[in-house]
């Protein structure tokens, strides 16, 4: 039972300090700065129609994005771990590139590929589909990289045993593979959702930033900061943050519930 008691006081203290320096203190400073107007201003800021539209768009699009990620991320992870084909290692190494590429480059390239004059005949630039596309690009690694390590550790003999006992591939998938992968998929989905809600750089070029149409929450927040309107920026950030945390909490609960009830 390594760490059953949660480790030494020293170790915990250092984790705490690290977390405070990186997260607690800056977020507290931000909230303090923005809370000067009181709750009435907070409500006014977040009921601004442009803000409401941006928040709504962000949450809906993020939900679509994580759904696609959950499906394709799991498939890709499965292929990368269980399948063998020439060039697999190269494909595996490419998965993380969306993180490392500066978002401005991602924006320019996506615009060139999936905008007017697209070489593959897909023109989604300046539509909401473009937001989905850009977010799928920047969140691609999450589910893949969460599921991959669990698949590595998963014992194939369980599946083989089930199959030899006459279980169909769907049954094996549903009864054996997915329950084991569920926490990892959920973990990846949670991270994708959070990142999708906060993403900014890759979106600014391909969406056109039209208020009420393609302006997402993070772009709205950016505009409010540029405008010295910190309370509005913080208020909308807080709403997005709370929404993301609620989703994260719900997913964590779901993951626990699953591991208790299925395994």
């Amino acid at each position: 039972m390594v760490g059953a008691r949660g480790g030494s006081v020293l170790g915990k203290g250092l984790l705490g300090i690290y977390l405070s320096v990186l997260v607690l203190l800056p977020v507290a400073a931000l909230l303090a700065k923005s809370g000067t107007g009181g709750t009435s201003q907070f409500w006014r800021e977040i009921s601004n129609p442009e803000a409401v539209a941006a928040i709504k768009l962000t949450l809906i699009i993020s939900a679509i994005v994580v759904l696609i990620n959950a499906i394709f991320g799991t498939i890709i992870a499965w292929v990368l771990v269980r399948d063998e084909f020439p060039g697999k290692r190269i494909v595996n190494a490419l998965i993380d590139l969306p993180f490392a590429l500066p978002t401005i480059v991602a924006g320019v390239v996506l615009l060139a590929l999936y905008g007017k004059g697209s070489p593959v005949g897909i023109d989604v630039a300046f539509t909401r589909a473009a937001i989905v596309l850009a977010l799928l690009f920047v969140t691609l690694p999450f589910v893949v990289r969460s599921v991959q390590p669990v698949l590595h550790e998963l014992d194939v003999s369980m599946e083989e045993a089930a199959e030899s006992l006459g279980a169909g591939p769907l049954t094996v998938l549903r009864r054996i593979v997915l329950p084991s992968l569920a926490p990892a998929i959920i973990s990846g989905v949670a991270l994708s959702f959070a990142r999708a809600v906060g993403e900014f750089g890759s979106l600014v070029l391909i969406t056109g930033n039209l208020p009420f149409k393609t302006e997402v929450g993070s772009v709205y927040v950016f505009g409010q900061i540029q405008n010295e309107n910190l309370p509005a920026a913080a208020a909308v950030s807080v709403v997005l943050l709370v929404a993301a945390l609620v989703v994260l909490a719900a997913l964590t609960l779901l993951s626990r519930w699953r591991s208790k009830h299925v395994l």
Binding site: A100, I104, T252
Partner: protein, 298 residues
């Protein structure tokens, strides 16, 4: 759920896939066809979403030959940005790795009140737009920020210098290692650890011999993701860096500056360098894991 839908998609496309076996399909053949179908879906998705953009970046970089690329790489500001990016990654990634493993053990194996809350806390920076993270750091550590006076008295400059950039980078890549490791820890269970303890292994031995090899893939992907994200971060770092060329300009900031300046080749070249760095991280981590595994078995 969504994932079972993926299974059925895989099935149907497998049976109509180009490599569907002829004649009476044996169980083996059906499995192969399924595999091919799933592979086709995965690679097709990746081709559209990932391979095409990456290929285009490489094409655009080298379309005018090697001379402009060489000129871009030998630019002093580009080289400084390269080393600065490496420096920041070299500090932020080990910190986040140790933090992440510790946090994962705490969250998965510890029992204490507020655990769920703590779990959410490490994901928190993720849902905040990087621009807002930069702003929050300025409000906390800047000249007029909460700790501004104290830091100034002690001669420490955080904002607009490397420490602030390291902090910003660490924040945006904070949850990866913990989030990658937790599911593996859960899947791993505690049986082996308990057995080792019973046989008299010390905590350190148990961790090093049992737990770490067990979670190594989680840690590997966590580190790879952390490094990639740390290399590519622009928004938060751009606000706390001051963007001084040859001093506080990282590679992504350099890319932005080149783009603003209509030097497209310079921007793409630096982007390719970033991609290669991420690539190298993965290869290095793979080699490292392979060696640890060999040692553990031996």
């Amino acid at each position: 759920m969504s994932s079972s839908a993926s299974g059925s998609i895989a099935l149907s496309s497998g049976s109509t896939g180009r490599a569907a076996p002829r004649g009476a399909p044996s169980a083996d053949g059906a499995a192969r066809a399924r595999k091919l179908g799933v592979r086709t879906i995965a690679l097709g998705y990746l081709a559209l979403l990932l391979l095409a953009p990456v290929a285009m970046i490489f094409y655009r970089t080298f379309e005018h030959g090697l001379t402009p690329v060489w000129n871009a790489v030998s630019e002093p500001n580009a080289q400084h940005a390269f080393w600065l990016s490496l420096e920041i990654v070299a500090i932020a990634v080990p910190l986040n790795t140790v933090f992440g493993i510790g946090m994962a053990l705490l969250l998965e194996r510890g029992r204490f009140k507020g655990k769920a809350l703590l779990g959410l806390l490490i994901d928190l920076p993720f849902a905040i737009s990087p621009v807002v993270i930069g702003l929050a750091l300025v409000l906390a550590y800047g000249k007029t920020g909460w700790l501004g006076d104290w830091l100034a008295e002690n001669g420490i400059q955080v904002i607009f210098s490397v420490p602030g950039m390291v902090i910003a980078t660490a924040i945006v890549s904070l949850p990866f290692v913990a989030r990658e490791t937790i599911p593996v820890l859960r899947e791993l269970g505690t049986d082996a650890e308990q057995a080792a303890s019973t046989l008299g292994a010390s905590g350190w031995q148990t961790f090093w011999r049992i737990t770490l090899p067990g979670i190594r893939w989680g840690v590997v992907y966590g580190v790879v993701l952390t490094t990639a994200r740390a290399l590519g971060e622009f928004g938060a770092v751009s606000i706390v860096s001051g963007r001084i060329e040859g001093e506080t300009q990282t590679l992504p900031l350099y890319v932005q500056a080149r783009f603003e300046n209509f030097d497209i080749t310079g921007a793409y070249t630096a982007a390719v360098v970033l991609a290669l760095l991420a690539f190298a991280t993965l290869v290095a981590m793979n080699l490292l894991t392979r060696r640890t595994r060999a040692e553990t078995i031996a």
